[in-house]
Amino acid sequence: MKVTVWGCRGSLASPGPETVRFGGQTSCVTVHLSDGSLLILDAGTGIRPLGMALGHDHPKRIDIFITHLHTDHIEGLRFFDPIWDPSVELNVWGPPSPVRELRSRIAPYFAPPFFPVHLRNIPSHPEFRDAPTSTWRIGSAAITAQLIKHPGPTVGYRVEENGAALAYLPDHEPALGSDLSTVEAEWISGCALAEGAAVLLHDAQYTQEEYDERVGWGHSSTEDVVTFARRTGSRRLVLFHHDPLHTDEQLEGILARAIELRASGDGEVELAREGLTFEL
């Protein structure tokens, strides 16, 4: 599979000269499977340039996997060109809620006063589906979604094809209430999703000093994400969901700290940036 980052900024789109190297678009990642299927992880503002890049040659079926309904993960959906094409079969998967189905939770974003066009009038008539509780197949990939620690119903995803796994946990605070270095692995949120992943895209929004003042906000410190990657045996850690206030220079500082924290045997670590691609 081929993985491409279209947006890796957290919380709020942050364009400008200080974020130009890593990008200001909010979360969106594509996974092109070997059988031609297109999976899209989250629909932050990064999905808008993706739609433009796909042009008229987009696949007839597109599956979008939403981790949760915070604005920075769904705000681009309305500006994703293929949703306006009636010939597209668009499936939107999202976190199950104990109370309301996914469609009714997303519908307010497609209605006045937030948007002029009602969801029922979107030409592609997207199907909204709760992510199943057990692994399911789409094209040549096996998909697993599990609830993870973040305010409100939130899932992370694991996409596996030909023995290689991509783990995507863009908003995740596994250290909340747990000592990641000592707690048994089965008690770590997100552990099963990330276990042995070839690539782990993981929340790394805060420095340790910032995190100490934002415990419970649903995001991770550099220290915690490095520990999480170590505990799960992920081979390549990609720091994701950059804080909107962090400049390119500050992100380089976070990467330097992550490299410093790595122990022998840990995998590689790098910063997510728009345009970054991996072949798994």
């Binding site: 199950p96 104990p98 109370v99 309301r100 599990q146 609830l147 993870i148 620690k149 909340l176 209430g177 747990s178 692995a185 089965e186 008690w187 770590i188 949120s189 997100g190 552990c191 099963a192 999703l193 276990e195």
Partner: protein, 186 residues
């Protein structure tokens, strides 16, 4: 109907005819069958292998319990004891590190639960048993003998952890020791 199904569970138990009762009753039957199989080792092995990681609700429940001064007992979707907190240790007369995981059939006898007249209380009538069997909260005063051999009068309130209508991922019991004179009555 309560979106969580809890209201329906209550209605299903208290009287037929409520909307959705039949569906909830069927789900509860499945839970009862699962609960009846708790002692079956092959069944337990199968379920354990299918869950490499604890359900997030159980992780959050343990995180919360580990910070409370109130004794708390957490069981998973099979009824297996997966955690009790430090506050529970003086009441149960031992630590979770010593006890470890116990299947429902094991923990139900580990502390020899009896009523105030000394009659043994079966698993299905303990608050956690009721929470699983009927999908509702349950409360009961009873007696136990701790791991330290000391008899204690306690009260427990248990409730199921439902993540969706009729879908139980575990249950929690909160308990406390009754006044010393109640322990002495026996």
């Amino acid at each position: 109907m309560c979106p969580l199904g809890v209201t329906a569970c209550w209605q299903g138990i208290r009287g037929p005819g409520a909307p959705g009762v039949r569906v909830v009753e069927m789900r509860l039957k499945a839970i009862v069958i699962r609960f009846a199989l708790l002692g079956s080792r092959p069944y337990r092995r199968l379920m354990t292998e299918a869950h490499a990681q604890r359900n997030l609700i159980l992780i959050l429940a343990r995180d919360l319990a580990s910070r409370l001064a109130t004794p708390v007992f957490v069981v998973d979707h099979e009824g297996t004891l997966v955690y009790f907190n430090e506050a529970a240790e003086p009441v149960l007369g031992g630590t979770y590190a010593e006890t470890g995981e116990l299947r429902a059939g094991e923990w139900a006898t580990e502390w020899t639960p009896t009523d105030d007249e000394g009659r043994s209380i079966p698993l299905e009538d303990l608050p956690l048993g009721v929470a699983f069997r009927e999908g509702r909260a349950s409360h009961l005063p009873f007696r136990i003998v701790g791991g330290d051999g000391v008899a204690r009068a306690i009260e427990a309130t248990a409730f199921p952890l439902l993540i969706r209508q009729g879908e139980i991922v575990g249950a929690i019991a909160v308990f406390w020791e009754r006044p010393a004179e109640e322990t002495a009555k026996r």
